[in-house]
Symmetry: C2
Subunit: 301 residues, 2 copies
């Protein structure tokens, strides 16, 4: 049995542990790619990297129309991987889009992002989760602080911190429409959470996470380590945000009229495949954490 390097929700009280894995896994075999040394150092320091206008306006226009088309196609499909607004047919997210044998599958292999993920993770990569998100203006919900890794480790059995999220933003992100907020440097600490994981936790946690939520004391401590700073991922459509699997992030609601949409891929190192969940419970469904037919991605230029 694999040793649990990052225990959480074990019934103990909350505590902060040091990270046991590198943030940037430098590997000469995978040093070629779009990211400069300076950018890799920035990622290592802050736990994220915001690259402006990786995709141009025409590319963004195509992505937006493909996103709309995919949402429309799923409007009347009732399935776990389609997340709707409560009591409505309005779709907020569609998961597993990298398996569509079409546009989003090709996008998920785009060299501009895959090679960046390879540079960060120092290995070949595959996708462990993907989705497209559409959040309307006026009523965008807040997302409380969390480390993705905490959930992926406990509920999906991701053994090590060697995964990176890639968000392609399709709408301008402003200070006032609920941009992602990140505590820089927080990727270096693991907040082990109190409580235990209930069965089928994912059925409610996608809308509001109740378990695996960091305590206030740990959050204050993390912000102190960051000299009080909380960064926001703001910038124009077509920009790409890479963020470490363990960086503490969240977002406020969005009461502005500006909607937000993005494409979201999680790249995991091929050397960090999912095992049995550390919660001891059955794994979450495939659409949340890919286990079947995992193959390294060949980047498309």
């Amino acid at each position: 049995m694999t040793v649990d390097k990052y225990p959480s929700r074990t019934g103990q009280s909350a505590q902060i542990m040091e990270r046991k894995d590198p943030v940037v896994h430098r590997n000469p075999m995978f040093s070629e790619g779009p990211l400069s040394d300076e950018e890799l150092n920035q990622f290592e320091k802050n736990g994220y990297l915001f690259l402006e206008r990786v995709f141009n306006e025409d590319e963004v226009a195509i992505m937006k129309s493909e996103l709309q088309r995919t949402m429309d196609e799923n409007r009347h499909r009732e399935a776990d991987d389609v997340i709707k607004e409560p009591g409505s047919d309005e779709i907020r997210s569609v998961f597993d889009v990298h398996k569509d044998n079409g546009f989003f599958q090709a996008l998920s292999k785009n060299a501009r992002i895959v090679q960046a993920a390879q540079q960060i993770l120092g290995s070949q990569v595959y996708i462990t989760q993907s989705r497209i998100n559409f959040k309307p203006g006026f009523k965008g919900k807040e997302f409380y602080w969390h480390s993705d890794f905490e959930t992926w480790h406990v509920e999906d059995g991701m053994p090590n911190m060697r995964a990176v999220s890639c968000s392609i933003i399709l709408t301008d992100n402003y200070e006032f429409n609920g941009p992602l907020m990140i505590i820089p440097g927080s990727q270096n600490w693991y907040v082990s959470c109190a409580g235990e994981t209930p069965e089928d936790n994912y059925k409610t946690s996608l809308q509001k996470q109740e378990i695996g939520v960091p305590d206030n004391e740990s959050m204050r401590w993390l912000v102190e380590q960051a000299d009080g700073k909380i960064d926001r991922a703001t910038g124009p459509a077509g920009s790409v945000l890479f963020f470490d699997c363990n960086v503490m992030h969240g977002s406020s609601g969005n009461i502005s009229p500006y909607p937000r949409s993005n494409v979201f891929f999680v790249y995991n190192s091929i050397e960090n495949k999912l095992e049995a969940p550390f919660s001891g419970q059955p794994p979450r469904p495939e659409f949340l954490a890919n286990r079947e037919n995992v193959e390294p991605i060949t980047p498309i230029r």
Copy 2:
């Protein structure tokens, strides 16, 4: 009977009307004061004015301790003018603090703010509402877009747009801890809201406003008039925000660890005293809208 210059909640659908009152009521009798012509012009254009560090650190420290003391004194008092967190003894707001015969009464007469209000309103002024607010970090609630005047007109019988809110901020306001958001220029338009006012609306509207809420189409239109801009009142403790009674404002939630507190006075022109509410219903209680013993304030230097 007074003519209703700004009908709203009359059962009609939402519509946008032009403002019928000046934003800055320039009056040579009240031109002396802390605000420069440029600042008055800015207020007139944007509907608000953010003045950095009107009060110094020592003054802020005293205000914070007086705020804490007042909150503590009211902790076990059950009254409408003390707003608690649902299901808890934690106090969020105490109203009517300008009648405390002590610190906040003196502060409400401070020449630095009263004379600014006189310059804007072009007359003597009195306080129609006051409160102190404490909003903790991590769980600060959002406040949806609204014009204060819409409520004050319909529910309190404030006849004309000739009032200004003054918020003395006691904690640093950042982009990430739910600062007040303002649509610059929106004070020039009145969004007449759909619906009608239920009885005792104030008992629920202080926590979440359901009636007198602008419709999405009007909100989009107001933001378009502002060239897409939404401003945020960010700055250090001790700063003062003046904003017009009709400017459209709101705030996102606050998941950051940074709490927020402020002292809030609404100055109304002595020539704009409250009449019978335009809803036709009984007036709201005195702590929300002062009617009794209204006297013009003599500023204290």
